[in-house]
Symmetry: C2
Subunit: 115 residues, 2 copies
DNA sequence: CCCTTACTCAAGCATCTGCTTTATCAAGCG
DNA sequence: CGCTTGATAAAGCAGATGCTTGAGTAAGGG
């Protein structure tokens, strides 16, 4: 079994979001499905290039591809976005907690010096 | 003036977070400052390699470097993390709003069919 | 003063990215 | 059936990335 680690999932999501075209594709898909051709026209880019961007987004779990006639409509999978947010929030909580402790200690020190 | 666009800032932040070593550096720094040498020992990596990772994090605004004796203590700048979260939340809000509208329309259709 | 410590700069190198071009495939149309 | 449309596959290429080695610099210590 080649199960994916949490680190690899985060790698894939942040790598996918590090390109402005792919971020715009995510923003576009948050408003509804789109085909490869529609996206290619939007970015004045070849369908092959878009298809490869979709591949990156698909491997990260951010986007999935369906089938409808000859088209492969792409839709957003917001669960993968939640993975990225929760990782960031974890760091921010730790940092905020440390700041709180520092302030408490500073207040203690000032009170001690004031006596 | 070569002012940085919002897109370039997001590029830099997501690119910085796309590497597992750099994510771990961010997590480590959220618990307090660290020197290049300390990080190099932690990851069993050369100081040069760590210094380059710090450079990527610094250019993204996620980390800043100070000076203390011979060391260059690194500290987290959480404001840059907020930029990434707010971008993601924007997409999620749009998606959530679309889902609400779809549900409303579905409910309307069912009510219409029930009469 | 030399020597060590902590770190950065610069060049080199293997690998990865983003895009291109060419070729191929699957679905529908006349 | 052939032809068009929407999309993927494969190969190639310029540029970026992650790490290395070698050289250099700033701050202390003996």
């Amino acid at each position: 079994m080649a199960s994916i680690t949490e680190d690899q999932r985060l790698d894939a999501v942040f790598t996918a979001l590090s390109d402005p075209t792919r971020r715009d594709i995510v923003a576009r898909l948050s408003a509804g499905e789109a085909t490869v051709k529609e996206l290619a026209e939007r970015y004045e880019m070849s369908m092959q290039a878009v298809s490869q961007h979709i591949g990156v987004l698909e491997r990260s779990g951010l986007v999935s591809r369906g089938r409808h006639r000859q088209t492969r409509p792409c839709r957003l999978e917001p669960a993968a976005l939640a993975v990225a947010v929760s990782w960031i929030e974890q760091s921010r909580r730790t940092w905020a907690a440390r700041m709180d402790r520092l302030e408490t200690r500073l207040a203690d020190l000032q009170q001690g010096a004031g006596r």
